[in-house]
């Protein structure tokens, strides 16, 4: 029997890595950079967080939940920042092709994640090919204090880990920043028409560097969330799968609006696990078809926006193009 109360929370937990990845990629794309390295960035973010928390958990001292949460977040952001800087340096400073750089970053990032993941697994000498960080994961999944006291509604709204709310707040703040603030206006100008932004005295490279790096850090946290929250602190190689690409799809599906992405990521998350909750749940073949749905709706969305031709819904005009002021 299909139960919304059990389905929705799982869909939401499933959605948060996608949402963070999508917000990160939106920041990238709004500055005119199509960063196909996001899947790699999420891998690197995740493994760096795992490394941080693994070192802390095994440092021998008593486990402090606050520090236990902060350390992986910091190491995760540092790792993602490194990836962001690589992308910026190659595409912004050296004006390399974004698609090729992004794909190279994904190759690198996934390799990076699996290499260090594999190395740590070997270090623990565990039987199963995975790392379990239960203490950190428990700290990570701290729920809001008043959760569980408000019945079914409380279950649906407040039962998630605090990081879930942080993610949603990040999405809302990003949307606010893009649409309502001066920084957002200037960032969008950089992505739409860099020559115009340049003429208006906006430092193009600075905006690109900042938005790409911050975007990558947000996406990296998405990867970390997957490991520590969704997967209960269990890292196993390749488990993250194709969620990074799904995040890029989500950017299109949300038409470059992070606040819309909140709902749509839940939809994507829901589609991803829908097979478990419908009567044909035992039919494993159908599961694969449901997993296809997010991509399919993204394609339909892509065609729809190109058909409707509404200016506001188009990708940023200068998406994917390098900018060189003296070009002529």
């Amino acid at each position: 029997m299909f139960s919304l109360v059990t389905f929705l929370p799982r869909a939401i937990v499933q959605s948060i890595p996608l949402l963070l990845g999508c917000v990160g990629e939106t920041l990238n794309e709004k500055s005119g950079s199509l960063n196909l390295g996001i899947p790699g960035v999420m891998y690197v973010g995740a493994i760096c967080g795992v490394i941080g928390s693994f070192m802390y958990e095994n440092s021998g001292g008593p486990f402090n939940p606050v520090i236990g949460v902060i350390i992986p977040i910091i190491t995760c952001m540092l790792g993602a920042l490194m990836m962001g800087l690589i992308f910026c340096f190659l595409t912004v400073t050296l004006r390399a092709n974004q698609n090729v750089t992004g794909l190279a970053m994904t190759t690198f990032g996934v390799g990076f994640g699996n290499f260090f993941g594999g190395s740590i697994i070997k270090l623990t000498g565990a039987e199963v090919p995975s790392i379990t960080l239960s203490a950190t994961s428990k700290a990570f999944k701290t729920t809001l204090p008043f959760a569980g006291k408000a019945g079914v509604v409380g279950e649906l709204l407040f039962s998630y880990s605090f990081m879930t709310y942080v993610a949603i707040i990040i999405a809302i703040l990003t949307a606010y920043m893009l649409n309502k603030t001066r920084t957002g206006l200037e960032l969008r100008a950089v992505g739409e028409n860099p020559a115009t932004a340049d003429a208006a005295g906006i430092n193009i490279n600075r905006y690109k560097y900042f938005s790409i790096c911050i975007g990558c850090m947000i996406a990296g946290i998405g990867g970390l969330f997957y490991v520590l929250d969704y997967a209960n602190g269990v890292w196993s190689n390749d488990a993250f799968g194709d969620r990074g690409w799904l995040a890029i799809a989500l950017v299109i599906f949300s038409i470059w609006r992070p606040n819309w992405a909140i709902w749509e990521s839940i939809l994507f998350g829901g589609l991803y696990i829908l097979y478990l909750y419908i009567p044909t749940g035992t039919n494993f073949a159908m599961k694969e078809i449901y997993k296809m749905l997010p991509y399919l709706v993204t394609i339909i969305m892509l065609i729809a926006i190109s058909l409707r031709n509404k200016h506001e819904n188009q990708p940023p005009e200068a998406l994917g193009l390098p900018y060189f002021r003296e070009d002529r």
């Binding site: 603030t181 206006l185 969008r188 005295g201 200016h311 002021r325 003296e326």
Partner: protein, 514 residues
């Protein structure tokens, strides 16, 4: 500005230019196309950085390394190609890049809420002051060209610029809009602002400016007080010598209709009327000049005849030697080609349309011929285009390192020779060219004129769109004047005078205040 030099690759755009601009005056920067006016001003507004030379403002040496610096120094430039973000509103475009509050001058923090309302208020104030008509909440993609220009000017004023640079602002405006613009500029001068207006139209120089500085081929020639000079003197300085063009004009012979255009009406993609009920005849052995201020439908007219432009109404009849008429309006360019009608077309945008910039000479020669049957079906024949390239290089004296050089690397004149050479090699019956000598030096221009005349002697119907009236008057047998997409008049090239044609260009029929 002292001793400014700027080069792009092998092209020197500005060479040792010295220029003084004074407060509270309107200065015209006059020069032919390609004389380096825009490049010079781009260096003042921080778009380009000079290779050599210094810039002083109020006696202080300044380094304008970016547009931001220029803006802080009170320099604002309105470019020919508008620098506006399409999906933004007018107000959003105007406040772009401003980090100070419009009222108290405090720095606006990047992440505080953007107060568009306050900005809109100030925009309305500026508009009221000078009589602009701007809706701050209108999106740019919904605006007409003149509205966009207005937004650009308001943007510069909003930033409190003291020095305004306008790059050929009137090229896209109707006469009424131009008058309005000039009135605004005069208001600004009263405010103590400095205005630099880049133009190549003498009558505008006379109408608006206090002084006129003249550039020629990237070099500074001199500055004149407008009141104390006259058109002749300015022209001389601009061109470098008395304009005695002395273009040959052989008597046309064997004249008979080749193309009859009847009631041609064309709309642009966004529904604007570009050509309105245009009718004329182009004859064999004759040069039909087409005059008009830019954007009056010249491009659309040529493209419509070439079969590249969808036609709303009207006929384009091609008359063969035996008198049979074919309506080209119903055919696409390929079908026209298949009919054996050989239309040569030298488009305005040489590297973006006529040629492929990154391909070499041989490959570019192939653009017209590659469809012809080669030795093996499906394969390109490289021998013929190579021979043609060699012939063009030799006969038209194209300066190029080799036939394998991408045409992008050639200078403007050589690019045009390659393009015209290729088109003529088609043995056309009709030759259409748009601004064929734009950006070319005198020498190259004369080669083009000679080629046009050779084709005319061969009995080709030549349609020559030009912007320099002197040239049109000396080269053409008849001149068709377009004004706002309509035929304003057709005059005889031998008897017409410049003033008459100039009037036809600006006012339909030219009858008013003759």
């Amino acid at each position: 500005m002292r001793n400014i030099t700027k080069t792009f690759g092998t092209i020197t755009a500005n060479k040792n230019v010295d220029l003084d601009i004074y407060r509270g005056e309107i200065l015209s920067l006059l020069g032919e196309n390609g004389s380096g006016k825009t490049t010079l001003m781009n260096m003042l507004s921080g778009i380009y950085f000079p290779d050599e030379g210094e810039i002083y403002i109020d006696g202080e040496p300044v380094v304008i390394s970016s547009p931001k610096v220029a803006s802080d120094l009170g320099i604002g430039m309105i470019h020919q190609h508008f620098k506006l973000v399409n999906v933004f509103t007018a107000a959003q475009n105007i406040i772009l890049g401003i980090d100070q509050d419009s009222e108290d001058g405090k720095k606006i923090k990047g992440f505080s809420k953007l107060d568009v309302e306050k900005a809109s208020k100030k925009i309305r104030e500026i508009c009221d002051l000078y009589g602009f008509d701007v809706d701050p909440d209108q999106k740019v993609y919904d605006m007409s060209v003149s509205q966009k220009q207005t937004v650009e000017i308001v943007k510069v004023l909003y930033k409190g610029a003291d020095i305004l640079i306008l790059d050929e602002p009137t090229a896209v405006l109707t006469p009424q809009e131009t008058e309005k613009l000039f009135a605004v500029l005069r208001n600004m001068r009263e405010d103590g602002k400095t205005v630099v207006i880049i133009t190549h139209k003498l009558h505008e120089v006379e109408a608006i400016s206090d002084k006129v500085a003249i550039l020629r081929k990237g070099e500074y020639i001199g500055t004149l007080i407008t009141k104390e000079t006259n058109a002749q003197e300015m022209t001389n300085m601009m061109v470098g010598r008395e304009v005695k063009l002395n273009i040959d004009r052989p008597e046309p012979h064997d004249v008979k209709p080749r193309i009859k255009v009847k009631g041609l009406t064309v709309r642009s993609e966004d529904g604007l009327l570009k050509l309105d009920d245009v009718s004329f005849t182009a004859n064999t052995g004759e040069v039909l000049g087409i005059a008009g201020i830019s954007g009056c439908g010249q491009k659309e007219l040529l493209e419509a005849i070439a079969g590249l432009q969808p036609i709303e109404k009207g006929e384009i009849l091609y008359v063969e030697d035996d008198g049979t008429e074919t309506n080209l309006a119903e055919l696409s360019d390929l079908e026209i080609d298949a009919k054996g009608v050989s239309l040569a077309f030298v488009p305005e945008d040489r590297l973006g349309m006529g040629l492929v910039a990154s391909m070499d000479l041989v490959d570019n020669m192939m653009l017209r011929s590659f469809r012809r049957k080669g030795k093996i079906v499906g394969f390109t024949d490289r021998k013929t285009p190579r021979d043609l390239a060699e012939k063009v290089v030799e006969e038209l004296e194209v300066v190029t390192p080799s036939l394998e050089t991408p045409v992008r690397r050639l200078s403007g004149g050589n690019v045009q020779k390659v393009l015209v050479g290729r088109e003529i090699a088609m043995n056309p019956t009709v030759l259409m060219s748009a601004y064929a000598v734009r950006g070319l030096d005198i020498n190259a221009s004369y080669i083009i004129y000679d080629l046009v005349n050779q084709q005319k002697e061969r009995g080709v119907a030549v349609i020559f769109v030009g912007e320099d009236l002197d040239v049109l008057l000396e080269l053409s047998d008849r001149i068709l004047v377009l004004c706002g997409g309509k035929v304003s008049g057709i005059v005889d090239g031998r008897t017409a005078d410049k003033n008459g044609v100039g009037l036809l260009m600006t006012k339909l029929g030219g009858e008013a205040n003759g």
